[in-house]
């Protein structure tokens, strides 16, 4: 069964159709990408899945549960986590605390126990801290737990966002332009990390990306959006040749011109 299933999702802003009757399925264990020109509705699509926006029509099903009417924290409980196009860390908190907030939903002690510092709390805190440090190490931020998040360099902030998302123990991870603004070396490390997330941890990954060689390199499947609609879907080879996609990116007539050149 598909891990994520979107059926006829539509999202309007006033008169603008940001996402239009979109159907989309994602099998567990995949790395899938959503691409499209600027303003194609990619981030809106993410926001609908993650519960930031309510869709106007259609349904979204995560692992058998309808999620399109749930508040976003319940969607997180169901195993979905995300990162943001313009990094949104808790910038005043330490790197470690950012990750520990991610673990929040798995902690069970009450605030009264917290005040009394019962053994259960101390035990839970110790385990959370260890686990969080392990996640920091995993994404390549070893030894940086005490640094305030806003003082991290840009690339590390992107990694921290991923570590924070991992702390929620997701089964589906949405990455919104994870390599934006990175140099080639950093981009390479990031694609490597994304692949490991799937291979080591078995997390299904859906990403929005502008960097075409990243997309083509790691995606099992690519979906192309334009004007809120799906215009193409398939593996890298197919997408690269699809005339509709070329048209969407380069303008009308471009596909024919390219074909003529061949």
């Amino acid at each position: 069964m598909a891990l994520l299933e979107v059926q006829g999702a539509t999202k309007r802003f006033g008169g603008l159709l940001a996402v239009q009757a979109l159907d989309f399925t994602l099998e567990a264990g995949m790395i899938a990408s959503v691409i499209g020109p600027n303003g194609a509705g990619k981030t809106t699509f993410f926001n609908c899945i993650a519960g930031f926006y309510r869709i106007d029509e259609g349904r979204i099903v995560l692992d058998g549960h309808e999620i399109h009417r749930l508040p976003s924290h319940k969607i997180a409980h169901l195993g979905l986590s995300r990162t943001y196009q313009n990094i949104r860390l808790f910038s005043g908190m330490s790197t470690l605390d950012n990750v520990r907030v991610g673990a929040h939903q798995h902690l069970r002690t009450s605030w009264i126990q917290g005040v009394l510092q019962t053994p259960a709390v101390r035990d839970e805190e110790r385990r959370t801290t260890q686990e969080s440090l392990r996640l920091l190490e995993y994404v390549g931020l070893k030894g940086k737990g005490h640094i305030q998040a806003s003082n991290l360099p840009y690339g590390d902030q992107r990694r921290l966002e991923i570590a924070r998302a991992l702390a929620t123990q997701p089964r589906l991870l949405l990455l919104d332009e994870p390599t934006a603004g990175m140099n080639p070396a950093e981009t390479h490390e990031m694609t490597d990390l994304i692949r490991r997330l799937r291979d080591d941890l078995g997390i299904t990954i859906l990403l929005i990306e502008h960097e075409m060689h990243v997309v083509m390199g790691i995606s099992d499947r690519i979906t192309v959006l334009d004007y809120g609609q799906r215009i193409a879907e398939g593996d890298a080879n197919r997408i690269q040749r699809d005339p509709k996609v070329i048209e969407a990116y380069l303008g009308k007539g471009a596909a024919a011109a390219l074909a003529a050149e061949d």
Partner: protein, 372 residues
Amino acid sequence: MTPMQTPTTWAERTGLTERLLDIGIAVFLWAFRIIVLFVVVVGSLLTLARGRYSIEVWIDLIVGGLSLGAIYALIALGYTMVYGILRMINFAHGEIFMVGAFAGFFTGVYLAGTGLLTASPLSAVVGIAIMILMAMAVAALVALIAERIAYRPLRNAPRLVLLISAIGVSFFLQYTVRGLFGPGIYAYPSVPFLAEPVDLPLLSILRLKWLDVLVIGSAIGMMLALYLFVMRSRAGTAIRAVSEDKATAALMGIDVNRAIVTTFAIGAAMAGAAGVLYGLMFRQIFFFSGFVPGIKAFTAAVLGGIGNIPGAMVGGFLLGELESVGPTLFLDGLGVPSPNQLKDVIAFTILVLVLIFRPQGIMGERLSRSRA
């Protein structure tokens, strides 16, 4: 690495307390709705069934509500316009209104000394116009200074910082006025002509006084002028563009600062004019006079849909009526002693109701919950 948990369902993962809380909130909100509805419906029916009040009383209450509403609407415009352009609640707006009332007061005292306010109806109207213009000018000036000192440097700061600064401005202005003019209550100069009834054929059923005509008429006149200014003039277009999208407006060559300053000045001028009308209507002002009308006008702005100019006008009149007619209509029948003491409670309850159940107001579009 992270041990993958076996997939669980939401029901399993969601704690019992959490679900109880969800249910509790739903119950609470419904109970709130039902109580308010009960008070309004049953109270009104009982009041009307008792028939203690004559039709004249009701007409007076409604006309009073219109005048009050006109004043709220004028103040609310400032809240709504500033919110539209800066996404900020100008907490000190009520104090700008109060400063306008004081400016009008001192002008009025001077004019009363010359006899202008009492000579003839025409001279009185001229005198009041001068008072209003002075109040508008002073209020606009004070608002611009406040914007320059306390708001502009914080435009990129977190919202909480801006809001606290605005609270600071509010107190600073209140107690500056108290220091300058003293804590006493000032009696507005009397304009005898305003107390006379309007003796025109059709209007006499409404039992209007010239005061009501003046307040409602000048408020509506100013609102129309404002509406035309915002919709038709170049500066108005700039304001609308900046409200829509600052970055794009700036790229189009619009002077964003100037648009913001204009907005503050216009909003403050409207509040200043409202201050004079308030003074003429209630006859008493003091340094704290701006506070409660300020919150109520904010309520009116929210009621109409904050950021929406016609909404602020509608909201103002609606709130004025609810506050004027409401205590008698809703509460008297329920046997509440001295219901007029509770008119502020009605206004604040409306504020809370709107914020809970229809935060976009009557005429506004739904604001995105996210901060973007």
